[in-house]
Every structure is written in structure tokens, then in C-alpha cells.
């Protein structure tokens, strides 16, 4: 199949997935117990007129099918609804939080992939040795730890006991910095604990996948061919083993995004990091359904988009997929 057909197919698949998610997203929120109006209006003393006005404002007076249609129509025009809590468009609220989360996720993901892949390669290369056994065990332990718990322990050690890093947040609001450098180091100090925690959480899986993937690849016949050709160890690894062994890692990175989003909720909650995860958490505690709905949809679309990109990347990396 040619590239265009492939892209089209993947695109259609992604679109169908998104549609199912939109559908689920709509109806899931309609099965919630309690009248959303009650949540919306904290003041139970409200005139019938005003109640009706709000109902209309949020389109809750229509039948479900009509509501779904309106929902779809609004979605296409980029309208994700109005927050119950902030009384502002969900889109604006969400977009305000995107940079903080992207910064955190981006740094942690890149760090964990680089370190994880590197360690995975080393452990695979040294399989059976003490380095490998210790490394593997540590990776499995990291992989088994609840994210929030690690975060709490990190705070306890580094921010409460030793006090060498700030407790949380993205910086102390209203602080004047002597120089740009001071501002940068201050920013880095605030970023350090959440990023490192997140990296630690993510790293385990990359190590495990990379290690087992590489071990499998090293058993392949073409590795024997390469050795028979007299390729030295470095090139054996870099040119022959890695391009093949990276393939599952690429898939994992995309699939993992969903997991990473779950991680941000926990990390941001513990570290008071003002990103999407914390927004989701507060929206949950506030029962701010439009925000939850919007966030959930946007995050899911982002993950689906990332998977779509991974598919394309995969196709680029693995020529076999083309046929």
C-alpha cells in the first residue's frame, strides 16, 4: 500500500476512535447521578426563571439526542462548553494549563527515554551479570511503585527533611529575580523534583522493554550475519541491533502517553504543579463536569494523535510495514 493510502487508513482509524471517545465522553457524563444544575448552582435558592435560564445556557433542557447533536456541533466549532466552577470557556481554562504540563511531561519523557534506553542497552549487553540483575530488579521495583507514593517520598526526603528543593509549585509568585540566570536556576529548582520523580517512574518500563527487545533482536539470525561479517561490537549495536530493537520502544512511547497522563495527575497533585493534571484533580473534586469532559476529550485526542504519529514513525523506521 502506498503512503497516502496508509495515512488515510490510519487517519480513518484514528477518527473512528475519536468519534467513539466523543460518544463515550458525552454519554458517560449524562449517566452521572444528580442533576448537573444542582452542582452548577450552589445556591439552591434560585428562582424558577433563573434555573431555566441556566438550563438553557448549558443546553440541558433538550433531549439527549439533541444535546448530543449540539455537543458535536459545538465541538467542531472548538467550543468545549463552560466551566461550572470558573464560569469560563473550558477551552481557555485548559489551554492556560497546557504549557506547564507539556514542560513537565516533555522533560520527563525525553529524560526517561534517553536514560531508560541507554540502561536497557547496557543491561541487555551485560545480561546475566551483576549489573544486569541489579539493574533489572531496580527497574522492576520502579515499575511497581505507585506514582504518587514516590512523589510523596521524594517530597518528604528532599523538600521537608533536607529542604534542598522547593516543596512544589512552579515558582513562588511575586518573586523578583536578580538576573535571568537566577530566574532560570530558580525555575530549574522548582522543576527538579517533579521531573526527577516522573522520570524515575517512567524509566523502569523503558529499561525493561529495551532490554528484552534488544535481547530478542540479538538472538536474530541477522545479528549472526553481522557478526560473521566482522562488524565490531559498537556498530553491531548501533547499526544492527538498535534500529530493530527500538521499534517496540516507539510503540511503547505512544501507548505510554495515556499512562503518562495518569502520572501527571498524581505528580501535579502532590507537587502542586499548575498543569492539566492538577486541573483535572480539582475539576474532579469540584465536580466541574464540563472541564472534566473537555480535558478528557483533549487528552484523549492528544494521545490518539501521538499514536497516529507513532504509526507513521514506525512505518518510517520499519520498511516491512509498507508492504
Amino acid at each position: 500500500m502506498n503512503m497516502r493510502g496508509y495515512l488515510l487508513r490510519k487517519f480513518i482509524q484514528a477518527s473512528i476512535t475519536i468519534f467513539i471517545v466523543v460518544f463515550m465522553n458525552f454519554f458517560l457524563f449524562r449517566i452521572m447521578p444528580g442533576d448537573p444544575i444542582r452542582v452548577l448552582i450552589r445556591n439552591p435558592k434560585i428562582s424558577a426563571d433563573a434555573l431555566e435560564r441556566v438550563r438553557e445556557q448549558f443546553g440541558l433542557n433538550e433531549s439527549r439526542l439533541v444535546q448530543f447533536w449540539i455537543y458535536l456541533r459545538d465541538l467542531f466549532s472548538g467550543d468545549l462548553g463552560t466551566s461550572f466552577n470558573y464560569r469560563q470557556p473550558v477551552w481557555d481554562i485548559v489551554m492556560e494549563r497546557v504549557p506547564a504540563t507539556v514542560l513537565l511531561i516533555g522533560t520527563a519523557t525525553v529524560l526517561s527515554i534517553i536514560i531508560g534506553v541507554l540502561l536497557g542497552v547496557i543491561f541487555a549487553w551485560k545480561r546475566g551479570t551483576r549489573v544486569d540483575i541489579v539493574g533489572l530488579s531496580v527497574s522492576l521495583v520502579l515499575y511497581s511503585m505507585p506514582t504518587f507514593w514516590v512523589a510523596i517520598i521524594m517530597v518528604m526526603i528532599f523538600a521537608v527533611y533536607w529542604q534542598i528543593f522547593p516543596l512544589g509549585g512552579m515558582g513562588m509568585p511575586g518573586t523578583f529575580y536578580a538576573s535571568a540566570w537566577a530566574e532560570l536556576t530558580s525555575q530549574l529548582r522548582y522543576m527538579f523534583l517533579p521531573t526527577i520523580t516522573f522520570t524515575l517512574i517512567l524509566i523502569g518500563e523503558y529499561v525493561l522493554i529495551m532490554r528484552s527487545s534488544l535481547l530478542e533482536v540479538m538472538r536474530e539470525d541477522y545479528m549472526l550475519t553481522a557478526r560473521a561479517k566482522g562488524v565490531n561490537n559498537r556498530n553491531l549495536l548501533l547499526k544492527h541491533a538498535l534500529p530493530n530493537a527500538m521499534l517496540p520502544v516507539v510503540t511503547l512511547i505512544a501507548i505510554n502517553l495515556g499512562f503518562i497522563v495518569g502520572g501527571t495527575i498524581q505528580i501535579e497533585t502532590v507537587f502542586s504543579w499548575p498543569g492539566l493534571g492538577r486541573l483535572m484533580y480539582t475539576a474532579l473534586t469540584n465536580r466541574d463536569y464540563p472541564v472534566l469532559q473537555g480535558l478528557f476529550l483533549l487528552i484523549t485526542i492528544a494521545v490518539i494523535g501521538a499514536n497516529f504519529c507513532a504509526d507513521i514513525l514506525y512505518r518510517y523506521l520499519d520498511p516491512r510495514v509498507k508492504s
Binding site: D221, Y222, T225, A226, G230, V231, N235, P243, N244
Partner: protein
């Protein structure tokens, strides 16, 4: 000076249960331009023997003994780095399943260029030129160097493997079941190509196969392996026409021959022995219809039947004595 001389090569695999005696006391020699076939059924140790030559064995394999000389130079004690230079430059290998033997994510041309540039100090451009020439020699369109392995058919892939194998003008080529998965027609094509190239370049070839006919078509001499040991070794014609070892005889008899009679030969009873604990004496004695007392007690010694034709069998001793 012989191109290749192998003496008493012994390789075991280490398992939790003990050693698998995969290949024991293999002695072979190869002259320039000569082709020798190493024939044996599955798990007879033939591939282990071949891979032992350039130490491309799995980690749990151990070469226990033996010497390997290429043009008189002993390489059995060579370091990994020294071996790296011997590989492909002196001894190249064509593997069995060409699909898996080529790296699926790299272009075939690049894989050949790589081999060339490791051993011959050539520029990228020169190496590419050489690759194109090689493709021409193995009768593939040189434009296809930019394709990936999966875009080739089985026969074509095997040709690519051959092109790669001869890229550095090796002195010896080891063919490990190079035609096994191929159709008869393609097999014949590939064998013919190999034959032509070998003669042109005067390479020595060690052809490993389970298929007697392949040996008949390409090899000057043949060594028959059974249960990790060579049981018979001699010129192809002699071995085929006058097999000395009962195993060789049974094997040849079992081969359907359209030039012979339409008749189903008896199969060899029993199964090959477990190499973790091979039977004492002659390893074939349990399945041998001619075995007698001595066979189960004593390892048969090498008996020369005629110049260059020898076998390990007590019966021969008796025959010679008689």
C-alpha cells in the same frame, strides 16, 4: 599448504542437565577451489561444526578442543578482535534462512557496503560500485541495491546473501543449508550460481546440508555426520557409489532415485540418540542393522578405505582384516 585444516574440533553446549556433545572430533581439510559437503540429518551437529570454525556460537557453546588452521595459520586461539578480521575476509558464510539473515530495516546494498568497508579500505562510493558489480554477478538488477530484504523473493534474497558473501573475496565460503527453503528449480539456479562463482574465484567451500543430492551436484568431497561425529569422509563419487558406513548406506538407500528402481527402501529404525548422554561405543550401533558386540563397547577407529576415503566403523576393520 592446505587452505583449511581442522583437527579434532570438539564443541559442547552447556545446559543445566549437563553437556550436549553436539560436535566431537571433527577433522576436515579443504584445498583451494575445492568444495566439501558436510551432510547430516537434523541435530547431527553439522551447523555447530561450521560455526565453531569462526566462533559464531551461542554463549552456552564451548569449543572444548581442536585446532583450526587457515593456510597454515592457527586461528583456534585467536582473540575476538583477530577473529573479526578473519571473518568474511577469510571465511564468509551464507546462512540458511535468507529472510532472517538479512537485517530487515536496512537496505540490502548498505548491508553489503558495510561488509566491504569493514575489510577493504574503500570509499563509500567505491564500495557502492563494488556492490553494484556484485549484484550484476549474482544476476540481480543493480538498481535494486536500494531495496529492503522483504522486497525480494526467497531465491533473490539468497542471491543477495551470496553477493554479500563474496563481497570481500573470501578464501572460504561456508554455505549453511543455503538452498533448503527453496523450490527445486530455484535451488538448482542458486547452486549453479554458487558453483560458477566458486570456480571463477577459486574459493574453497564448505557446504552444510541435510540433502545428499545437493552435495552430489556441487561438492568434490563429502563428509557424513551422525550424532555429532563424522562417520565417513571421502570423494563424492566414491561415497555415493560405494558407501562404507552402514549409516551412509542407509541414507543413500532411503533417497528416492528416479534413475533406480521404484521401490521404497526400509527406513532406519529408531531415532537419533540424545547427545546429552550418547550411547557408548559406536553412536550408531543402536540403529545399525549390522551391529555386533564390539560396536556397543568400543569406539570405532578411523579406517582408510582408499586414498581420501575413510570411515569410522568396526565392520570395516573386520573387512580390512579379512
Amino acid at each position: 599448504m592446505r587452505l583449511l585444516e581442522v583437527e579434532n574440533l570438539t564443541t559442547y553446549y552447556k545446559l543445566k542437565e549437563g553437556y550436549v556433545r553436539a560436535c566431537e572430533n571433527i577433522s576436515l581439510h579443504l584445498e583451494r577451489g575445492e568444495a566439501i559437503g558436510l551432510v547430516g540429518e537434523s541435530a547431527s551437529g553439522k551447523t555447530t561444526a561450521a560455526l565453531s570454525l569462526i566462533k559464531l556460537l551461542p554463549e552456552n557453546a564451548h569449543v572444548m578442543a581442536g585446532s583450526i588452521k587457515i593456510e597454515g595459520r592457527d586461528i583456534s586461539g585467536a582473540t575476538e578482535e583477530e577473529l573479526r578480521h578473519i571473518r568474511w575476509k577469510d571465511i564468509a558464510i551464507i546462512f540458511q534462512g535468507a529472510m532472517n539473515a538479512l537485517n530487515p530495516v536496512r537496505r540490502v546494498g548498505a548491508q553489503i557496503v558495510e561488509a566491504v568497508r569493514i575489510h577493504d579500505k574503500l570509499s563509500e562510493k567505491e564500495a557502492c560500485k563494488r556492490t553494484a558489480e556484485l549484484f550484476d554477478q549474482v544476476e540481480i538488477d543493480p538498481d535494486r541495491v536500494r531495496e529492503y530484504p522483504h522486497e525480494f523473493s526467497g531465491g533473490m534474497r539468497q542471491r543477495v546473501m551470496i553477493a554479500m558473501a563474496i563481497a570481500c573475496n573470501p578464501k572460504i565460503i561456508i554455505g549453511d543449508e543455503p538452498t533448503t527453503a527453496l523450490d527445486v528449480m530455484v535451488q538448482a539456479q542458486v547452486l549453479q550460481l554458487l558453483e560458477t562463482l566458486r570456480r571463477e574465484r577459486e574459493m574453497g567451500m564448505l557446504l552444510i546440508t541435510h540433502d545428499l543430492s545437493v552435495v552430489g551436484e556441487t561438492c568434490d568431497r563429502v563428509a557424513v555426520m551422525y550424532a555429532g561425529q563424522i562417520v565417513e569422509n571421502g570423494p563424492t563419487e566414491k561415497v555415493f557409489s560405494d558407501p562404507a558406513h552402514p549409516y551412509t548406506r542407509a541414507l543413500i538407500a532411503a533417497f528416492p532415485n528416479i534413475e533406480g528402481e521404484r521401490f521404497l527402501a526400509a527406513s532406519i529404525p529408531g531415532n537419533p540418540p540424545n547427545l546429552l548422554a550418547p550411547p557408548g561405543g559406536c553412536r550408531f550401533h543402536e540403529r545399525c542393522s549390522e551391529a555386533y558386540g564390539l560396536c556397543s563397547n568400543e569406539v570405532p577407529a578411523l579406517t582408510n578405505i582408499s586414498p581420501g576415503h575413510s570411515a569410522f566403523c568396526h565392520l570395516l576393520q573386520r573387512r580390512v582384516k579379512v
